[in-house]
Symmetry: C2
Subunit: 361 residues, 2 copies
């Protein structure tokens, strides 16, 4: 050990440090440090969520949305512990092209629901939001009343590079919201990619918001959206629009009759509303309650949720199989070569596929 040096008066000499003042309690320091570092445990969060604590709910959703592996594992554990408290809700999907008035409708519809004693969570699936920085629900000020309502919880669309990832996060968030006591889950989406199909496969009731004479009916038929709808609600049915809205209602009713009967035994309904004037809003809820009555008595409700679970199970497996394959170093290197050989007519797509499958295994 080096001998303690004698005081040495060179130009580089520094004064010895001083002792910390007695007023600074080392116990307090420990306490502050511990508190600053402390992340709530899985147990704490689950306890908070199931007691309806919104801060804990938000924290858990942040873990679900994180790409950090430790967070993912923690999110997993929280969800598993929340599962027994979930499922007691109605999940409603709402879609419609931009400009149809989705935010105004959800504001009016959500406020009506809390006024009759329900607890409403509003989530979103928008695979484009990572690009457009959260077009859906990103601007909470568009739902002024609902955002201040203590029985409502609004969460913008999670970001993600694939629809599958975004949808998965929303589906897990549903479970957390249900465990926190929200009995009505509204999931908004805008017609981007296959997002309606994704939302349709995670809700009990699918509502399509339309405008009279918007001329996108063909689009809706083509993309199978009208076929998925349990209700078509024609918004902005007020003032000068009212007449057009009424005739649109007749036309949509006619169009719906061309589709075969649904497995649910439910005949989709068409109704008018004016979200702005808060007219026709309670009718939408009446329709949903009628739907719930029918589908719980014929057990379609339960059957559908089981099918949705199976769908997501298989979907997740198949997406992962593909992404694991294409992400492997060997395949990243060999795939372009094989594509080139196919393009040059030197091999067939099938032979190239066999080769790639062989080298990857």
């Amino acid at each position: 050990m080096a001998k303690k040096s004698e005081p040495y008066k060179s130009a580089l000499h520094e004064q010895d440090g001083i002792e910390p003042p007695k007023t600074f309690s080392s116990n307090s320091a420990k306490f502050i440090k511990a508190k600053r570092k402390k992340q709530p445990s899985v147990e704490d969060l689950v306890k908070g969520i199931t007691a309806g604590n919104i801060t804990d709910l938000s924290r858990a959703i942040t873990l679900v949305e994180s790409t950090n592996q430790t967070h993912t594992q923690k999110a997993h554990d929280i969800i598993t512990d929340c599962l027994p408290y979930a499922n007691q809700s109605v999940r409603i999907g709402i879609t419609g092209v931009p400009g149809v008035g989705k935010s105004t409708f959800i504001e009016a519809f959500g406020s009506y629901l809390t006024s009759i004693g329900r607890k409403v969570a509003v989530l979103a699936v928008d695979p484009s939001s990572s690009l457009s920085k959260g077009s859906i629900l990103g601007d909470k000020t568009r739902m002024e009343d609902l955002v201040k309502d203590k029985n409502a919880f609004i969460r913008p669309s999670p970001s993600g590079d694939s629809l599958g990832g975004v949808a998965r996060k929303t589906r897990e968030t549903i479970i957390l919201c249900e465990a926190a006591g929200f009995d009505t889950i509204i999931i908004e989406t805008v017609g981007v990619g296959q997002s309606e199909t994704a939302v349709h496969s995670m809700v009990d009731f699918f509502l399509l918001l339309k405008l009279a004479g918007a001329g996108d009916e063909l689009q809706g038929i083509k993309r199978g959206i009208i076929e998925m709808a349990d209700a078509i609600v024609i918004n902005k049915a007020d003032g000068d629009n009212l007449k057009a809205a009424k005739s649109a209602k007749v036309e949509f009713n006619r169009a719906l009759h061309l589709y075969p009967e649904k497995d649910s035994g439910w005949s989709p309904k068409v109704s008018l509303c004016s979200a702005l004037k808060q007219e026709g809003i309670s009718d939408v809820w009446d329709v949903i309650q009628e739907y719930l009555k029918i589908t719980s008595s014929n057990r379609y409700f339960e059957h559908n949720r089981n099918n949705q679970n199976k769908f997501w199970l298989l979907q997740t497996i198949e997406e992962r199989l593909k992404s694991d394959f294409y992400k492997s170093e060997k395949i990243k290197k060999e795939l372009p070569t094989q594509i080139k050989l196919v393009e040059e007519g030197k091999t067939t797509p099938f032979a190239a596929a066999e080769y790639l499958l062989k080298i990857s295994s």
Copy 2:
């Protein structure tokens, strides 16, 4: 070694056998046996096919359609050797609901094509044919003239338990037919499952056969078939049907304008024909020639074939990844258990998927 026994005169005694008569030449026997057993080699078949030998073409297609592993390998080799001779053709997909007159149309259209010097192969993709025992082209007598035409080759849909398998066999058969000198490949399909999409992804030109006033327009829009069509041909436009056919033509033209422009730069055409009276048949060929002119000058033709090859390469990989996964013994055993746990709310679809992926790797 046992000593050769002496002649022994018991009741069970048999006469010694006699020598084969001299007239039975052992050389002939060898020759006959060799000939009977001899399967033509890959080299022989490729030589025959590229010389336009129909028997060899049929034999090779039988190998393509076989599920026997040795046959599959042989088929592979034949196709690879045929590739340099393939691709010199126009591939035309034809679809339409049963009753629209597909067989009569193909009979008239094919006969017209051979009359102007083309060599026509007619194939089919019908994933239902293994159940219905070959509804498409199964009954060759429906194409009486074409079947006797030496410049035409008709092959019914291969059977198979998946659309992917059926489509793959047909795609490989296209290559063999092209190598055998067929410059016009017609691929028929009937609207079953996703068969139109499969056929659309293996042809250069997609033709939709319709009847006036059949009322299945909505179906066509819904399933995206009208969107895929490069031409809509309204069949049975004769006698009393003519007026209705003419107004259907106007309506389809209007409907087609609602779709965005195609990548090919081609505007789909609507025409009338009567396959029975052989009217409007040459017009269809004129339209196809116009299409080929446009898409070869803008290079879409080549671009599309490359994209189709890439599509089939990735499609084959993804189908195999899935089938290998689900066929594994571990997964067969564990999947039902995990589905049950999900149904009982004891795990989430995502956690179950993770578990299954983990045990399979």
